[in-house]
Amino acid sequence: MSDFIEIKNLVKRFDISGGLLEEIRFKGGIHRKKTVVHALNGVSFGIKKGETVSVVGESGCGKSTLARCVIRIYRPESGEVLYNGTRVDNLSSSAIKPWRAKMQMVFQDPYASLNPRMTVYQTLLEPIRFHFPNVSRSEADDRVATVMKQVGVDPDWRKRYPHEFSGGQRQRISLARALAVKPEFIIADEPIAALDVSIQAQILNLFMDLQEEQGLTYLFISHDLSVVEHISNRVVVMYLGSLCEFAGTEQLYTDPKHPYTRALLSAIPRFGSEGFNHLRLPGDVPTPINLPTGCVFHGRCPHADERCRREVPALITAADGRVVACHGVEEGRLEWL
């Protein structure tokens, strides 16, 4: 089965140098210096129809940027995003309109993701009227009621404003807005991170039920490793804007290959284990403004050698389908671990 969503070599940089005046440097003559954050450095992976792929990694590793590049809130510097074989990242804003209805996004903060000046009804009606202008008013009203029921919000509440709802209810409404245009693919950018633990489970179950009912495909961004293990088919591990490992959930959780994945997974608290016996990585995450040469992880990797410091590791697909970007794994010198 070929990939439904294909992400190829996505690169995104942010210019944070501000205005022209702030760029000017006087060291050794006057010249312009741009300060650039390397948010994504060539990320590639694919998502099959109907599956859930999760992206994990620590704060600032580019998870959200990846989501926003795929859904075209940001335009990537280079690389491609293919939807069902069609390239969508380079379409003009009018040409992309049909794909906008097929790809939707749910955001992290339920308090910021709904317009405070619009009622639930207005919020849900807007995408329907925009993408299906020929739909009659009553059909659109029905659609609003349907999606509200689907996410478990009483349609009688449609005249209310977002501030009259709790966080969990708002997240449901956010999801309803995404579902309103009948999408096939939903990107969820940490949709449960801002919620209470008891509500997290409800929203997760809602996500999974909807996937079952409507055959949705998810790209799920999270930093909660146990949630990811619970809901995803495959997992992408990212570090400093680069993909470290991409593998089936069970494969990854039982037998991580990349040294960073191993360190990350060892940090999950387990029942029955005594004390903390996670792998400690020395140092801090380097700044994405001046990326390390070679492998982005080499400064903290216990197995780094000369080649890691020099050469950026390519993505290698192993026989079991997993993708790893690590010289050590490629050379086989990490196998004994």
Binding site: M105, A112, L114
Partner: protein
Amino acid sequence: MRFFKKITGSNLFYNFLRDPMAIGSATVLLFLIVASFGAPLFAPHNPYDQTTIDIMDAELPPIWTGAADADSRFLLGTDPQGRGMLSTMLYGMRVSVLIGVGAVVLQSLIGIIIGLIAGYKGGRLEALLMRLADVQLSFSTYMVAIFISAVFQGIFGMGVYSDYALGLLILVIGFAEWPQYARTVRASVMAEKNKEYVEAARVIGLPQWRIMFRHILPNTMTPVLVISTVQVANAIMSEAALSFIGLGMPPSQPSLGSLIKSGFDYIASGSWWISLFPGIALVVLILSINLLGDWLRDYLNPKLYKD
């Protein structure tokens, strides 16, 4: 009726009823506005009607002074042209308020659109528009207004100027102060545009103008409302100042400012009432607007809670 219910049931109204300063200033302001816009109904005579004016009535003192020439028709005395001060002030206040509100409408239209575009688009366009605003701000309102009024009077003569003075003043004061709005709106747009509901609107694929006007603009109106009150007061004062130096409303359609000016020449000769009463009216008008604006700002910005 439902609208009325909605207003009386709102937090704004509740807060208003518990703030004596707000009630006081709103009452005074309402009184002044009703009196000035109802001037044709309330005023003892019409100062624009040349036939009712008699030059022999000029400079009569207010009736309570007990002076021999005080006339019972003119409660507050008369101005140098024989118009009753009370009637002239009521009509004059109407002119002042019209100019103030008109100039603010113009300012806010220009300022909101420029600020919205600059804040949302960012980049070079923003830099260009905001530097333009800086340039505009670096000229004082009075300088721009004096320049334009003087040139207009010079080219078209006083007669034509009198006919268009009201519109011209609105234009001049409106254009001179738009950067206030542009800066305020831009600042709030920049805070709003990175919120997730704007990203959600972009994910839906809504056109930029729709995101700007339907999603962002309504969420940036709070500070606009607050500066509008201050700006109305400012515009009225600008107009009064311009009239005072003879570049505002002509003596035939006096505003509060031109009334003050026309009495200024007579203060030394004992006719103090011609300047004093319009002056008091101007101060009370500005003060009530500013106090109301102060209350509105405090209400809309809970971070400024006083004890």
